[in-house]
Amino acid sequence: MRKVELKGLTKSYDGKQDVLKAIDVTIEPGEFFVLVGPSGCGKSTMLRMIAGLESITAGELALDGKRANALSPSDRDLSMVFQNYALYPHLTVEQNITFGLHVKKISKKEQKARCEEVCAMLGLTDYMKRKPKELSGGQRQRVALARAVVTQAPLCLMDEPLSNLDAKLRAKMRSEIRQLQRKLGITMIYVTHDQTEAMTMADRMMILSGGDVQQIGRPLDVYNNPANTFVASFIGSPPMNLIEAEISDSVLVADGHWMTPITADMKAKLQTDKVTLGVRPEHISLAKDSEPGFLVQVANVEVLGTETLVTFDFGEDTQWIAKWNGQSDIQPGAQIRIAVDDHHLALYSTETGERIYCQASEQAAEKKVSS
């Protein structure tokens, strides 16, 4: 287990533009920490800086409280799993797993014992004499994992390890990696562009965009309480619905005529009369007869078995998605009346995208005060 601290960590390749801008975060021992963001956001660069494969332009990296900026990768006592697995094609699975162990002064006998142990753990025992090209994608992935585990390093870095697998296998490996990390009790830093992986695996996650930290937090906190419109639209599948809205008196008006009341408490926080309104798909429902509703035209319906995704036109060039439980038989083109749960509204500044108000966080704060 290992504590990783980043203090103002900055990376620039040309000395002018920063690809990572002063990252501050502390990753606790034994934590499963996920770095998530769209491609090109700097998440892999950050991981490679922690590994020592990229130099640090400014700031400090500390491992277990000791400055590690200038340490060579092998002196940082960590293991890494690469996106393409980086297996040696000319070596057998066994040779791949034990590659480089002689540097750590581990005897041949001990190497073999360790290799057999991890192979048993990862179900590779029957494949130890095979070459990587004779393995399936999932088995190669396991060899890459085994190579990280066999070093017994207290910190493991993973760079999009599941992105080359098909969807079904990915879901399986997700759970396996998480279980493995728990079993070994190691600190894990995991890079992905897939928000589902981040949500399902992380103890805590960091959302990066354009080299800036957007939000750091536990998955559910991030989901319920996105810090800005970027996080709101990145985390969650389908993402949070967003639309510009105007405030007049005590109602919020979107698209010229759709209205929802706002509370005095909400109003007190609003400085402007223009905001971006955010609603999660699961908080939109079909309006009951007694309820006030809003008439919209259905553009597309996706029935997934346990739930139904309804895409409808909202405003001139905006489409929203609603998510309902069960199997709905609404047809595309139909007019439906929808209602928005006004206990779950989020309001963002239209200019900066920053969160102004989020009902979920207010409720959480209230709970804390009362308890």
Binding site: A51, G52, L53, S72, P73, S74, D75, L78, S79, M80, F82, Q83, N84, A86, Y88, P89, H90, L91, F99, G100, L101, H102, V103, K104, K133, R147, T151
Partner: protein, 311 residues
């Protein structure tokens, strides 16, 4: 797939005809694409080869017209002639001197030039430059370097108070001298191909090794060389064939001399055919050279390929 096949087999004879027609037109389309290279290979390669084998079985007049069928006599004469034995020995030595040394040198240069350093492009250009030079121009340069009175090598020897050497005129040194020049000429090609091979190696393999903390020589032995082996194999094969066929620099530097010490088989073929007008014997030597190259290449594939790791 199965549905289509069922229809095809249970269908009427009309279907069968259609299929035949389609197969025929497919074959024709394929042949059309092959035709240009078939014609070129036929005219410049297959026909001369067959003609050479044919001529090797005849005594010819001075125009190269076959006169008397003599069967294996040309070959028998060759095996009995000391001149041919010397030629074969010179060729074997020449291949032995140039190929391994050239490949080791090119590999070393390629590994050096594969570093990420400022201005490395300059070195890459320099190391590969010999590829762009004609054999004639290179030979002239080396002729100056080897010149006994004004050449650089003898001046260096003189500066060190060592008596000069007749590089190209001394039978002891001539083949070695031509070999050195040849290594220099061939390095550019091998270097360029090997550098390409090095740059194709996945960087994450080295990154993984850096995290493991293995030494540079371990990386070279366990990653670079195995991963480069397909390229090395290709370069070795091409270099071997090339070395067997060397002609230009020998013609320009030594003309097969002194005392036939650099009279490699290709040069001997040339002399027999175009100076002695003994086309039959020249053809027989060409056939033997072809067989020798074939055997060496087949052996190389049989033995060498086992050590090659294709991805």
């Amino acid at each position: 797939m199965t549905v289509i096949r069922q229809e095809a087999t249970s269908g009427s004879t009309g279907d069968w005809h259609l299929e035949r027609k389609r197969a025929w037109s497919n074959w024709m389309t394929g042949m059309m694409f092959l035709l240009p290279s078939l014609i070129l290979f036929g005219v410049f390669l297959f026909y001369p080869m067959v003609r050479t084998v044919y001529l090797s079985l005849f005594l010819t007049d001075s125009q190269g017209v076959p006169v008397v069928f003599v069967g294996w006599e040309n070959f028998v004469n060759l095996f009995q002639s000391t001149s041919f034995q010397l030629s074969a020995k010179a060729t074997a030595l020449f291949v032995l001197y140039t190929v391994p040394a050239g490949i080791v040198l090119a590999t070393a240069l390629a590994i050096l030039a594969n570093q990420k350093l400022r201005g490395i492009g300059l070195f890459r250009t320099m190391f590969s430059a010999t590829m762009g030079m004609s054999v004639a121009a290179s030979s002239v340069i080396w002729m100056f370097l080897f010149n006994p009175s004004i050449g650089l090598f003898n001046r260096i020897l003189a500066a060190l108070n060592i008596p000069g050497v007749q590089w190209l005129l001394d039978p002891q040194y001539a083949l070695l001298s031509v070999s050195v020049a040849t290594i220099w000429m061939n390095t550019g090609f091998a270097f360029l191909i090997l550098l390409g091979g090095l740059q194709n190696i996945d960087q994450s393999l080295y990154e993984s090794a850096r995290i493991a903390g293995v030494s540079e020589s371990y990386k070279l032995r366990k990653i670079t060389l195995p991963m480069l082996s397909p390229t090395l194999f290709f370069v070795t094969t091409v270099s071997l064939i090339n070395a067997f066929q060397t002609f230009g620099q020998i013609d320009l530097l030594t003309r097969g001399g002194p005392m036939e010490s650099t009279n490699v088989i290709v040069y001997s073929i040339y002399k027999d055919a175009f100076i002695n007008y003994n086309v039959g014997s020249a053809s027989a030597q060409a056939v033997l050279l072809f067989v020798a190259v074939l055997i060496v290449t087949v052996l190389q594939f049989k033995i060498g390929e086992r050590k090659v790791h294709y991805q």
